[in-house]
Amino acid sequence: MSKNKIETEKMNWEYAAAPESASHIQLKEKYDHFINGKFEKPSSGKYFDSINPATAKKIAAVAEGNSKDVDKAVKAARKAYDNVWSAMPASERAKYLFRIARLIQEKAREFAVIESLDGGKPIRESRDIDIPLAAAHFFYYAGWADKLDYAFPNRKPKSIGVAGQIIPWNFPLLMAAWKIAPALACGNTVVLKPAETTSLTAMKLAELIQESGLPDGVVNIVTGDGKVGAEIVSHDGIDKIAFTGSTDVGKLIQKTIAKTDKKVTLELGGKAANIVFEDAPLDQAVEGIVNGIYFNQGHVCCAGSRLFVQESIKDIFIKKLQDRIETLIVGDPMDKNTDVGAINSKSQWETIQGYIELGKKEGLEIFQSSCKMPKDGYFIKPTLFTKVAQSSRLAKEEIFGPVLAVQTFRTVDEVIEKANNTPYGLSAGVWTDKGSKIFNLTSRLRAGIVWANTYNQFDPTSPFGGYKESGFGREGGLHGLSAYLKFD
């Protein structure tokens, strides 16, 4: 029998809706601030709506904080630090953190559902990545609390005091874990402000913290917009600031505290290069590129937003990449089959669309998935631009969306230079089968995280943070401790 060319006999098999059940979750209509172990009404009496970006409908109301609320929270944190937390034996402190970790594991599904409803990320991601990592983070740092003497040779580490922490909307619960866990493990107390578009899992965490029996005032959560963040940063009662967000706001924070003694760590933006050499395992590299820019709708500071593909394999690689993009399902974040969820907010949607229009105007070649799109809500198709030059704005500016800028390269020198030619330096990816080439690239790329033959891997034991304008300080691992300690 001779070989057949493509047959027209076609089986059309599409996936039916596979909605995750939300019936078991408990969501209040309104959430107040969490101060001194209790839920406190906002001084302003005002609340703002938290919107589900997949439906553009309200899911709950959140307290609008102001300077009075921040002041109350900082005072509660200071009192808890002075009277209870800094005096508590470290091994007992650890037990609270272990409890929090286990409670998150017990309530994992509820957290995952609320995370997806509030922020737009697919339930598959919140269920399989965000929530487990958040629990693991608490578990890891719980173990450090009574072992700090081993982490710093010849130094006696001590807690600092009260930490002010401001987190972004792309990994709400996970970012809260990244901030709270090490701070508490090192003996500090915390005032945390979640992002205004995604405060709900932080509030559920507050309820969980109550359940864990953590002493009042050790963790305080004040909700609101950027102004609340500014209040925290400038409050005299704050000893240390931890901020994850845009580079612009990071610089603003530094300006605000320049004349003070406050310690600060910043985790800011990125424009990572994901580099594919001709000897890379191509299909796995395609996965890595897709994971790097479309995972979490591209709302990732370490996203591999610049693809550098070696010219000799450009055509086959782009073809494979496009074919793979066509299999991504864009849809309701609560559908278990959705790969790419909703853009977090209307304003972010507009920002990303702006860049897509810009790319078209600049004459770049655009490819977008032909997938079906939901009718309501804020959604954007996975997009890539080829024929991008190093000088294009799409290659320079952080888009924070599912848009990939593709450039080619010919030699190792060239790609290293281009990859480093950016004010950012958070992460990078290298795809090649050759070990010595991997170590060459990892030595020379100016980025805080280099992923070789993989991408977007996170672990509580692995330090995360950037070079240059991507920020300074590291979160995770042994290196994540020093930000929350002072040394004699």
Partner: protein, 294 residues
């Protein structure tokens, strides 16, 4: 109304995740200070020890391959389960000459020590490993690997804490072990096996035998498939016996005399003592933009 007759407990040994009796069928009756028998306790034989080592070796591959996070979760779970069974252990310790106060203290310390070492599982590697700046174009790193099957001679004067204090760091580091319980205070060791069994610990990672040290010490020292021995009774002649027997396969013999009621034993160096160091080299191509340039 007549009194209810209670069910007497049979104390068996713990091998490969099961509770068999000693294959020798023998027993002994350790007594407490009031000359009361603690029960008919299995007098384990060299064959039991042999079987335990086989089980430990079988379990080692999987246990050492598990993520550190998984091991830490399991050790923490042991603490959860032990916490839930405080009363059982306090009663048994009191049966074995402890005052109530001391018994409570011992159980608390055992639980907290499990939590302590659970927290080390995914951290000791960060303390003891290194990237070495060799003078050639190589990426060179040293990392720890568990040594294998460890035989533990549990402290003769402690029924629970002595066993827990050394088992925890040894398995936290990815090793499997065979423990010879205290000869005169064996009750808690077998009850602790029940805790292990309920904690998602894979069978064979920890095996517990009861019996006479005089019979089994030579087996422990000479078995060719045991990689290390952890000895904690501080008796010079016994230590010499172990060291001499261990020469044949170069077992690592470690002797500890920590005061278990203090935090002396809570340190990561015990974990390190049962690890091997592996150093790997890999070439680094030198091409491209100089490191200093931005």
């Amino acid at each position: 109304m007549s009194e209810r007759i209670n069910i007497l407990k049979t104390y068996k040994i713990y091998i490969g995740g099961s509770f068999p009796r000693t294959e020798s069928g023998r027993f002994y009756n350790p007594m407490n200070a009031k000359k009361e028998s603690l029960g008919n306790i299995c007098l384990s034989s060299r064959k039991d020890f042999r079987n335990a080592v086989v089980a430990a070796r079988k379990a080692f591959g999987d246990w050492s391959d598990r993520t550190a996070f998984n091991r830490s979760q399991i050790l923490y779970r042991m603490a959860e389960v032990l916490e839930g069974r405080r009363d059982q252990f306090i009663t048994e310790l009191m049966q074995q000459d402890s005052s109530r106060k001391d018994a409570e203290k011992e159980v608390n310390l055992s639980i907290d020590r499990l939590v302590y070492f659970a927290g080390w599982c995914d951290k000791y590697q960060q303390i003891f490993s290194s990237v070495n700046p060799v003078a050639s174009s190589h990426f060179n790193f040293s990392a720890l690997e568990p040594t294998g099957v460890v035989a533990i001679v549990a402290n003769k004067d402690s029924s629970l804490l002595g066993l827990v204090s050394y088992m925890a760091p040894i398995i936290a580091g990815g090793n499997s072990c065979v423990i010879l319980a205290s000869e005169n205070k064996p009750l808690c060791s077998i009850s602790f096996a029940e805790v292990l069994n309920a904690s998602d610990l894979p069978g064979g990672v920890v095996n517990i035998l009861t019996g006479k040290k005089s019979e089994l010490l030579s087996q422990i020292g000479s078995h060719m498939d045991v990689n290390a021995v952890c000895y904690t009774d501080g008796i010079k002649d016994e230590l010499i016996q172990l060291k001499e027997a261990s020469i044949e396969n170069l077992k690592r013999v470690k002797s500890y005399t920590y005061d278990l009621t203090t935090a002396e034993v809570e340190n990561p160096y015990i974990i390190n003592d049962f690890q091997e160091v592996k150093t790997t080299w890999h070439p680094i191509e030198v091409i491209g933009a100089a490191k200093a340039s931005y």
